[in-house]
């Protein structure tokens, strides 16, 4: 029996399925239950319609803005950036949790990742797709956006590579490409599974094309696992860099309240925090409506909630540090700004931010609440709100009270801003809804990795 199957102890370091998914018996069940989620329902159509409606509202508002001029949006100089940049940072941030879960946790072999990473990753891609729109539609002359891309032209002119905005272009485009590639690569084997289960010839053909003729052969798996590992390894520093670069948009500026070295780590933490919030907002309804509670278990939620709590603490620390730095800097402009932030005309926004991002998440110290999906869902909504207002507090108050008192001003968004913000949510959820009914929201192949395979009695063969 020298050649008998290696004892199960030699299996790779995957948390024992019996502990993690007691309710999942075998591969067939995985296929059946996860693919079961793919049948469109009336509720789904309703949701999709709503999303598309919101999108159309946003799009028409944007056309109007392009025609009439940026003036129809609520810019009040000196506040030259507003809802659009705020939403840009917000959406980029949302994206980060996905990459964190799918890449970083993959490298750390964190068990609870398996069940939620596909969702999170899709969320990343769509969030970045959404974020990418805002820098363009906040331009005074959006039809010239391509001047930010380095390409040979007859003016012999190139972008100004010292500008954080050009850094953004590179960071965001890279992020979008890599994360969508990562998502797709992970999907290929699952699509292959769908292809083989599919009976409808048309859909089968489509799946066949999408699966690139994947066959689950040993050689494919060999390269697949490697490639996947490297992509994860790339995504990890990338996710840290992207939001650091976004934070440079502010940190590189002179503006009091922006000009701070703490921004990159502070932004990354905030991004992951907000992303986890969005993950909860998405995954909790899904596990409920798709009856996937025994895949996305309370343990998984619990673990994710712990991360959420941690990042919230980091963010909170960053907030307090900012005040402390301003206080100790002896820099009048900084001090004025931070005083104005909490007690001035924007106090309300600042307090929304502090309560939603610092205070409420503290509830996650209680395990009961961590394991309570409905609370997590409610909390996640507050987190999304709070994180949007964090960016508001960073952008607007800083600009409205800069160096020059004579030019101090205020800010009031108009219906155009709100319509476009709504449109961005429509855009995001349209894609997400389309995704969850076409492709598995839980990685079938990876599930099978942690589900025990059929075995003959150990040492079988017996001769």
């Amino acid at each position: 029996m020298a050649t008998a199957a290696p004892p199960m102890e030699q299996r790779p370091n995957i948390p024992s399925a019996t502990v993690r998914l007691p309710a999942v018996k075998d591969y067939e069940q995985v296929d059946r239950e996860i693919m079961g989620t793919l049948k469109p329902t009336l509720g789904w159509f309703a949701a999709l319609a709503t999303a598309i409606l919101c999108l159309l509202i946003g799009v028409s508002a944007w056309f109007y803005q392009v025609y009439a001029g940026m003036g129809v949006a609520g810019y009040n100089p000196p506040v030259m950036w507003g809802v659009y940049i705020i939403s840009f940072v917000f959406w980029v941030g949302i994206g980060h949790a996905g990459t964190l879960i799918s890449a970083i946790l993959y490298l750390f072999r964190a068990g609870f990742r398996t069940s939620i990473y596909r969702c999170a990753e899709a969320m990343t891609v769509f969030a970045v797709m959404t974020a990418g729109l805002f820098p363009i539609l906040h331009l005074g002359r959006p039809w010239k956006f391509f001047w930010l891309i380095p390409y040979p032209n007859w003016r012999l002119l190139w972008p100004q590579f010292k500008s954080p905005l050009v850094w953004d272009v590179f960071a965001i485009l890279t992020y979008l490409t890599v994360s969508s590639t990562f998502l797709y690569i992970g999907l290929i084997p699952d699509i292959a599974t769908l292809r083989d289960k599919e009976t409808n010839p048309v859909r089968k053909a489509i799946y066949a094309a999408m699966s690139l003729g994947w066959r689950n052969s040993d050689r494919e798996w060999r390269h697949f696992t490697r490639a996947y590992l490297f992509l994860a390894a790339f995504s990890t520093p990338l996710v840290l860099s992207v939001h650091s670069v976004v934070s440079f948009d502010f940190a590189m500026a002179l503006t009091p309240g922006w000009h701070a070295t703490i921004f990159p780590p502070y932004f990354v933490a905030g991004a992951i925090f907000s992303g986890l919030g969005m993950v909860f907002t998405i995954i909790i309804p899904i596990r409920k409506f798709f009856k996937l509670q025994h895949y996305v278990t309370l343990n998984d939620l619990d673990a994710a909630a712990k991360m959420c709590l941690f990042t919230s603490l980091v963010v909170g620390l960053a907030y307090l540090t900012e005040f402390q730095i301003a206080w100790m800097s002896g820099n009048k402009y900084e001090q004025d700004y931070f005083w104005n932030r909490v007690f001035g005309q924007w106090a309300w926004a600042a307090w929304i931010m502090l309560i939603c991002n610092m205070v409420l998440p503290l509830s996650l110290f209680s395990q009961k609440l961590r394991r309570n999906p409905s609370w997590l869902f409610i909390l996640s909504l507050f987190i999304n709100l709070g994180m949007w207002f964090e960016r508001f507090v960073i952008v607007v108050p800083a600009l409205s009270h800069e160096f020059e008192p004579w030019q101090w001003g205020t800010y009031a968004p108009t219906w155009v801003d709100y319509a476009i913000l709504l449109g961005s949510f429509g855009w995001f959820f349209m894609w997400f809804l389309l995704f969850i009914k076409q492709l598995p929201v839980i990685a079938i192949t990876e599930m099978k990795e942690i589900v025990p395979p059929k075995l003959r009695k150990v040492g079988g063969g017996g001769h």
Binding site: F146, I149, Y151, N153, W154, R155, L156, G213
Partner: protein, 201 residues
Amino acid sequence: MTQRRKWTAIPGLILLAIGAVALSAYSGASSSQNNSPVQPILFPHPLHAAGNLNMNCLYCHNTANKSPDPGLPAVSTCMGCHLIARADRPEVQKLAKYYAMGSGKPVPWVRIHKLPEYVRFPHMRHVNAGVTCQSCHGPVQEMTQVYQFASLNMGWCVNCHVNGYDPREGLKATGIVDTSTTVTPDAERKRARYDCASCHY
């Protein structure tokens, strides 16, 4: 072996390439180059600016060396000669009709060389620097119907500002002097400011 090498071609990459090309095309090349509209009067530059008349461009475009604006000859200037000279030619009679002894209306020439409003092109700076008209406008003295010779896009301007204007090339372009035999030493090339505010303000 079981592996049948069936590569789906790389259409994606091809699309990317096409996109890039389209973009750079959209970004620049002048569409008005070689545009050659028909003028209300078929003014023959060759007859005037070459041949035995061989008039100097500045005789008619008389402010090119003292104004940003090259200037068009006033109809009276034309009639200075054409009251008598060739008065029987149909085109000249057209001109006379426009003139109508002072009470007439000017000739609506169709504009060919047009820079965008945000570009300042002071003709006199170039003329006085010795840049021959033909360097930019081409061999007008040979054009029976004038057309836009240069692309007039920014790269075209900047090339000359940075790499410098070659007086010999310029003279050669006039077709009057042929200096093709000698080559200009780099020091003699006339260079100009190449920062944006030289032309855009």
